[in-house]
């Protein structure tokens, strides 16, 4: 008989959870029956080898898979108990509540100010003083304000890679999300910029719930409270981070984090 999966349900309030989630890309079964819950004001890291489904899973939380041709999602994603995979869901509002930061910083070709104000303007905020307020608050929250406050009208493209990524985080924060999804946010950054982002994540979890996909296990072990290990589209193990890195229950998790794969 197969043993039950070592999937922990975190204590405390749950912001979002998936129930029996499956994703197919055409005939390819990319995500298989994934059920997991995510604790409010905690950082959860998703790890696993390339192609294991962790980024696909991340994209389910704000229906980014809708944008991929041939993608088919079944099962539930419950945000505050409400299924987001229904036709009635306002996807724009969903993506406001569930923000995303990508692998490579993707500043829009406009000023720093306009980058941050982009989301709020889309939401209909017109008053300049209100926008100024949002831009400052978001840049401060992303620990970038002091570095850019005198050049808000300059193009965001001129910022360093680490600054660009923090600006992208500020842009995500400007629309006041509840959840921040981060897909390999430090893979294009040097160690110093990486540490800046990690510090920032620890600050941000006071107010937001963060789910991060990372290939860097040391990053997962440094910043996250919970860690999930994916393999071939399945969530193999999900537990407190210290348990995963000190003594995981499943031998496949053990092999992966000890670098014994391949």
């Amino acid at each position: 008989m197969e043993r039950p999966r070592p999937i922990l349900r975190p204590e405390g309030p749950i912001v979002v959870e998936t129930v029996g989630l499956n994703v197919h890309y055409g005939s390819f079964h990319a995500l298989r029956e994934v059920s997991a819950a995510f604790a409010a004001n905690h950082i959860t890291a998703l790890i696993g080898p390339s192609g294991c489904g962790k980024s696909t899973y991340l994209r389910c939380f704000n229906r980014m898979n809708d944008l991929i041709e041939g993608a088919r999602v079944s099962g539930q994603v419950l945000l505050e108990g409400e299924d987001v995979n229904t036709p009635e869901t306002d996807v724009v509002e969903l993506r406001r509540r569930v923000g995303m930061v990508f692998q490579a910083p993707n500043p829009f070709p406009m000023s720093i100010f306009d980058n941050i104000a982009y989301g709020p303007r889309l939401q209909g905020v017109r008053e300049h003083s209100r926008l100024e307020e949002i831009v400052e608050r978001s840049l401060r929250a992303a620990a970038l304000w002091d570095e850019v406050k005198d050049k808000l009208r300059q193009t965001a493209i001129a910022l360093s890679g680490g600054q660009q990524q923090r600006m992208c985080i500020a842009r995500a924060l400007a629309v006041e999300p509840e959840i921040l999804l981060m897909d390999e946010p430090c893979s294009a950054l040097d160690p110093t910029a990486t540490f800046h982002i990690e510090e920032l994540m620890l600050e941000l979890k006071q107010r937001y719930t963060i789910i991060i996909v990372t290939h860097n296990m040391y990053q997962a072990s440094r910043v996250s409270d919970y860690t999930g290990f994916f393999l071939l589209g399945e969530l193999i193990e999900y537990d407190r981070t210290e348990k995963i890195f000190e003594g995981p229950a499943d031998p496949r998790t053990d092999d992966y984090i000890r670098g014994r794969f391949g």
Binding site: F245, E246, G247, P248, I257, R258, G259, R260, G262
Partner: protein
């Protein structure tokens, strides 16, 4: 498996072998110290006292090896537990060496006159304690929980021996004040052996953690095994 990981596995195996060599060296210190005590062998006792430096060097070498592996390999999970365990265990093994030196010094202090009675129980206790120490290190190298349980079982035996020796030596001291000096030294030697047994238990507890990933007092583990 990747070549870098295979090299790391070989390093881990080598680390365990280094620990085993240190354990064997310290065990021979214990054997010789007890032999020197039983046979009034001053030269043998002095040799044990000198050997302490070698044991300390081995301790340092293994610790440095562990630090190097931590820094360069950034081990996780079982690998991390193995290196953490080895770092902890060398401190216990080093203490066994120190107690062996204490026993050798006792031998030197008592070398000037014959004993009031032949030493029988003390060498027997030393043999049991030496077994525990060896079993605990074998448990580590072979990741063998059965050996861990054997260490726990032997600890009960050693505790009984220590209790018996304590009682006997107190009675002798009460009846024969002229042998008090000898008896106190022998009592201390027995106490050192009992402490060595405790260090063997520490090692066994660490091995249980290394294998299972769970911290548990060996006494609890031992009880649980008995109940099973």
């Amino acid at each position: 498996m990747l070549r870098t990981r295979r090299a790391f596995d070989e390093e881990l195996a080598e680390l365990k072998q280094e620990l085993l060599r240190m354990g064997a060296f310290v065990e021979s210190m214990l054997d010789r110290a007890v032999c020197a005590l039983a046979q009034h062998d001053v030269n043998l006792a002095k040799q044990v006292v000198r050997d302490d430096d070698t044991a300390d060097d081995m301790d340092l070498d293994i610790e440095q090896h562990c630090m190097r592996l931590l820094a360069l390999q950034q081990p996780m999970s079982r690998d991390l537990r193995t290196i953490g365990t080895v770092m902890k265990v060398i401190a216990d093994v080093e203490r066994v060496g120190d107690y062996s030196v204490d026993i050798a010094r006792t031998a030197l202090a008592l070398a000037d006159r014959p004993y009031f009675k032949e030493l029988v129980d003390l060498p027997r206790m030393a043999a049991a304690v030496g077994d525990m120490h060896r079993l605990a290190l074998q448990a580590l190298v072979h990741e063998d929980l059965d050996l861990v349980d054997q260490v726990a079982a032997k600890d009960d035996e050693v505790d009984r021996m220590w209790g018996g020796l304590l009682q006997e030596l107190i009675e002798i001291m009460e009846q024969r004040p002229e042998v008090v000096r000898q008896a106190v030294h022998l009592l201390l030697a027995a106490r050192y052996l009992e402490r060595i047994a405790d260090h063997a238990v520490n090692i066994a507890e660490r091995v249980a953690y290394m294998v299972t990933g769970e911290f548990a007092q060996l006494t609890e583990r031992h009880k649980a095994t008995i109940i099973e």
